[in-house]
């Protein structure tokens, strides 16, 4: 009877350890998932045109592919 109790106690301790380990691992995994950031997929260069009221400062210039290629041209 005493032996049976010892076996049950050992089994209970082992079971508790495993449960704790699983919980810890799950917690770590959960934290890792939260920290990990999926890197953005790189995209190629993008040309953004400015109009006469755009970021050229509304100075009457227009960024486009004209006679001189890509350059600022008067509006």
């Amino acid at each position: 009877m005493r032996k049976i109790g010892m076996v049950l106690a050992i089994a209970a301790v082992m079971s508790g350890s495993m449960t704790t380990a699983q919980t810890t691992y799950a917690a770590q995994s959960s934290r890792d998932t939260n920290v990990y950031i999926q890197p953005a997929v790189p995209i190629g260069p993008k040309v953004q045109m400015f109009d006469c009221r755009g970021t050229t400062g509304d100075m009457g210039w227009f960024w486009r592919d004209g006679w001189r290629g890509w350059a600022c041209y008067p509006c």
């Binding site: 592919d65 004209g66 006679w67 001189r68 290629g69 890509w70």
Partner: protein
């Protein structure tokens, strides 16, 4: 006698068609370097000694046609550029240009009205240069661009003649 023959030989060599290929100035010299694509040069256009080079803008809406004729003398060169814009520009406006000798810009629309046309003509010694700029109807070639390219071409002709 031997010296005279040598000099004559050099003079003839300068007029060989293969040498004309170095005459036209690529517009990419005064634009971003990838703006224009050059077609293979045409030598002796219309049976006259010289070269024609066509440069097409990557967008396909603009084209620069550069023709340089190497004629016997300056008078022949002046005569050659005299009517260069005839039939190409309708109701064109003519203005002088600070390019070579007798630099002139004629700008207007094509006879069918579908495109803007600007023609720069000038001579340099016995060379007659005609640079035609064809573009969208509402976007003619800017005068400063025309003059700058013309001046580059004039310099190239002088360098070629001096070589």
């Amino acid at each position: 006698m031997g010296i005279g023959t040598t000099i004559g030989g050099l003079g003839s060599a300068a007029a060989q068609p293969n040498d004309y290929g170095t005459l036209p100035v690529d517009p990419s010299l005064v634009t971003d370097s990838l703006a224009y694509n050059a077609a293979p040069p045409v030598f002796d256009p219309s049976g006259q000694p010289g070269v024609t080079a066509v440069y097409t803008h990557r967008g396909g809406e603009r084209q620069i046609t550069n023709t340089i004729l190497v004629l016997p003398d300056a008078q022949a060169a002046t005569a050659a550029v005299g009517g260069a814009a005839v039939g190409k520009v309708a109701n064109g406006q003519t203005q002088p240009a600070a390019v070579g000798s007798g630099g002139t810009i004629v700008s207007g629309m094509s006879p069918d009205g579908t495109k803007s046309v600007t023609v720069l003509t000038f001579t340099q010694g016995n060379a007659a240069a005609t640079i035609e700029f064809d573009g969208p109807p509402r976007d003619p070639a800017p005068a400063d661009f025309v003059v700058e390219l013309g001046q580059k071409q004039d310099t190239a002709i002088k360098d070629w003649q001096a070589a």
